[in-house]
Amino acid sequence: MGILDFANPTRFMKLTQLVLPWLVGLCAIAFAVGLYMSFFVAPEDYQQGDTVRIMYIHVPAAWLAMMCYSIMAISSLGTLVWKHPLADVSAKCAAPIGAAFTFISLVTGSLWGKPMWGTYWVWDARLTSVLVLFIMYLGLMALWRTMEDPIKAGKAAAILTLVGALNLPIIKFSVDWWNTLHQPASVMRMDGPTIHPDILLPLAVMAVAFTLLFFVIHLMAMRNEILRRRVRTLRLRAASAARPAGGSATLQPAE
């Protein structure tokens, strides 16, 4: 953490201080509208009945789960290539949020699957690759937790994130191929009805609401992370201010 690193985060803190309240407000409005529409405006599906309402949280969550990984991958490039001081903060803070949304999409998916398919879980290609994504999120979080030095941890995690970004499409592809060989009888295809505007509009609003929610939490978590690093530097300084006499001499140079 050099002097240069301090410049950018400080500006970031000021900027987010201004932007965050607006984002929170927008997010709340979007959720109010989206939830109202998904419960009262959107019609029930002629095949799936009211369970289709699960879609309004399931699909945005699944979408965010992937978007979050893309943000982490871009941030990792930022850490390794451009060495931007905020990049690894962004990547680190995105991981728990991504894991949470992946978890939501897995749980809501299986709660949707139970009435529709008769089982909570099938080793369907799409579900399985999302589960692998979930494990990767948790692994990255564990990597960050086990390393003491945030800079080192950030670099290690960036490498893993990028390798994962290359590997995820391969996993997806191979799992598709793996699953078509042993197609279980109980799996129903996810085609459903053709998307009708009455359904599409609430879905779009919910997607916007979820995206705003992601950015709100992400920015808040990033602010926390910057504070955490500030605490770390201060603590290092506090410890190295060995004896009170020696410490004050370095802090107050000219008397």
């Binding site: 369970t51 926390n224 506090a238």
Partner: protein
Amino acid sequence: MDLGPHAGFIIASYAICFGVVAGLILWVRLDKARLDSTLKDLESQGLAKTRRTPEKPDRQ
């Protein structure tokens, strides 16, 4: 409002989603509160005020 035969699943989905999001927000808020208080503690020791301009720290 009638949610049909599978109301339980729908409500559970929304409840879990709400729970996870609330947990996430709570975690962020608690983390912030904790960090703010440690930061305040450290700053009260007169160690914080060296950003870029090396100004003199306040005397306690």
